[in-house]
Symmetry: C2
């Protein structure tokens, strides 16, 4: 960044775990160094906005927001931010919520020249109309939408995929363990041996550690993976110079997703009841593990974007015990393999923690830096 | 990119393997889509320049260049490019040579507002004065220097490191197999067993396959790895908000590098003679392999930037047969592990081919896209 460039105005919506961490990271950049000016915060109950006196103190922002009597109002925020956009001043709105309602506003922001940065998967994996509106609005004004943290948190997944596609490499297949929760569960459950802990006990421990949603069915349904695959698939389709065999996904519900929820437990209302009944299905999962083990394989819940085959799917698959999904994974790591024409027989691999507030916020802040062409 | 943004003027110096591939990739972007205007090519014998009629044809650029009677003259090129720089027009010079002389000109380009993109390691791993001149010139004008392809070719290594550092993560240690040649040699030579092929025969086969330099000592000396470590180390030092324990490297020669060249073979003038005498030292390397195997380990030639310990070193190390450097590597893959505060016990890992014209050119073109804040 040239020292004379005006700072980028940043407004943050959502100050929960990820939002708070993002604010801390952003404010920890030394003031003479930062390309950002944090001018607005919005929680579910309050909002502050001051372009003249930006927020600079990591010890004060919480009390500044709490002292506000202004109710959150995203329409008013949009107007105020739009009035700041000019050829010399760039404005970015960071959505740290997981709200569909906030996601629905992205086109209106982009149309006004406000760039959108977010770890929220809803807009990019939801209804195709919304996604196409986002593309159109961004093309119209040149405002950017950046969503690195929607897949693999801070890992370089979206940026790597965009670069492969933009430079004309042909992506053949992307295959990965995209859910930290599913990663943990199967790294514990299936190590290549024919026996091991009961599936229900692994899920129960994962829940106690806070690795699952309060209702584990929200992980085991595979929807989180389907959403991430939708984002990757759309990134390929919209970025490619030529057409691909990939289906145009109407939403993440179009992904072929093999849920792990036993049919009999599909409508269990609470996580506690779900956990208490899951042992009924331990024998089923133990059999899958034994079958895999007999073939010298492990079970992993993976997502696949098969560009050549035109298939986008999520489900349980078997991998040889010498495959990186078996040898290299641990904890709740994500691992993503990009098989492409240029990389040939040996894929480009990215691996590491794909969830958690610190690394997710880092992915968001990294996107903000991309707006500066930082080097 | 906004459709109304003027294109970035690109001048390419060096049209060898990587340069030619870069030109092909750049010209394969559909014309209505490309943010680049390729206005100049320079080989070792000829140059062309035409900002009014940019080069657009991937079938004609070679003959256009060959038809030129203009001799290469980088001073004149600099003047012509500098005259195009304005607030509306950005200019980038791509150096695809491996020349020290070309590298020495980077500060003069950056001072004139010309961004520099390159896979050439010389400037960033050479004399500290040159590196500091580059930083100063870039800060002065806001022109960018981007060098993703200097480490790991097209793999996201430099960009990932810059993002970790810029967002305030504390890098604890970077550890990796940074040389495709060394990767191939030790993946073949040391698999965890106590015996295997002779070291000299592995090196000889690698040379026949074109994986080594014509004189294998140019790989076995470890300088390529030392240069890459210098680049990573300087990227951390110059990007960090706070001071680190890392030494200020005067050049890549300051890296603690344990060469694999047997002392008796250090001054052998030709690759052929070197290969013919290498078998004299097979017993030495076989003993190292057997010792590692007795500990359940493999040998790998790795580079380490130990930020906490303040050490930058390259050399042969032993890794457990269950370590990713043993299980996950194959072919001539690079693998890079980023141990950081935020990633905790499980590092962020990037792996894949780290050499070859197609992936190197992709790293260069990816950097050009960063100048556009492409999304």
């Amino acid at each position: 960044m040239s020292p004379s460039s005006p700072k980028i105005y940043v407004a943050v919506v959502g100050v929960g775990l990820v939002g708070s961490e993002l604010i801390e990271q952003l404010l920890s950049i030394p003031e003479h160094h930062t390309p950002f000016s944090l001018i607005s915060l919005t929680s579910s109950t309050r909002t502050i906005f001051d372009a003249e006196n930006p927020i600079t103190s990591s010890s004060l922002w919480k009390s500044q927001l709490e002292a506000s009597s202004e109710k959150p109002d995203l329409r008013t925020l949009t107007e105020k931010l739009a009035s700041l956009v000019s050829t010399h001043h760039r404005v970015a709105l960071v959505d740290n919520t997981s709200s569909d309602d906030v996601a629905a506003l992205y086109p209106s922001w982009l149309e006004r020249g406000i760039s959108v940065v977010t770890p929220n998967k809803k807009a990019y994996s939801g209804d195709l109309n919304l996604y196409e509106s986002i593309l159109r609005a961004s093309q119209l004004t040149g405002a950017h939408f950046l969503n690195e943290a929607t897949v693999g948190a801070g890992l370089p997944v979206i940026s790597t995929l965009k670069e492969l596609v933009a430079t004309g490499d042909k992506v053949v297949k992307i295959e990965g363990v995209f859910s930290g929760t599913m990663s943990y569960i199967f790294n514990e459950f299936s190590t290549g041996k024919s026996d091991g802990p009961a599936f229900s006990s692994v899920v129960s421990v994962a829940r106690e550690k806070g690795y699952t949603e309060p209702h584990p069915a929200d992980d085991l349904n595979g929807f989180d993976v389907a959403r991430k695959l939708t984002i990757l698939s759309r990134t390929i389709v919209s970025g490619s110079h030529t057409s691909t065999a990939l289906p145009i996904l109407q939403s993440f519900a179009s992904v072929e997703t093999a849920s792990l929820i036993p049919p009999a437990l599909e409508d269990i209302p609470t996580g506690d009841e779900f956990i208490s009944r899951l042992p009924e299905f331990d024998a089923h999962f133990a059999r899958l593990r034994a079958d895999a083990s007999a073939e010298g394989k492990v079970l992993r819940f993976v997502g696949v974007v098969d560009v050549l085959g035109g298939v986008v799917k999520a489900g349980l698959e078997k991998y040889s015990t010498s495959h990186p999904f078996a040898t290299s994974l641990g904890g709740s790591d994500n691992i993503i393999m990009f098989h492409t024409e240029r990389y040939g027989a040996r894929p480009l691999i990215v691996q590491g923690a794909g969830a958690g507030a610190a690394v997710t916020a880092m992915g968001v802040l990294g996107d903000l830096f991309k707006l500066v062409t930082n080097d």
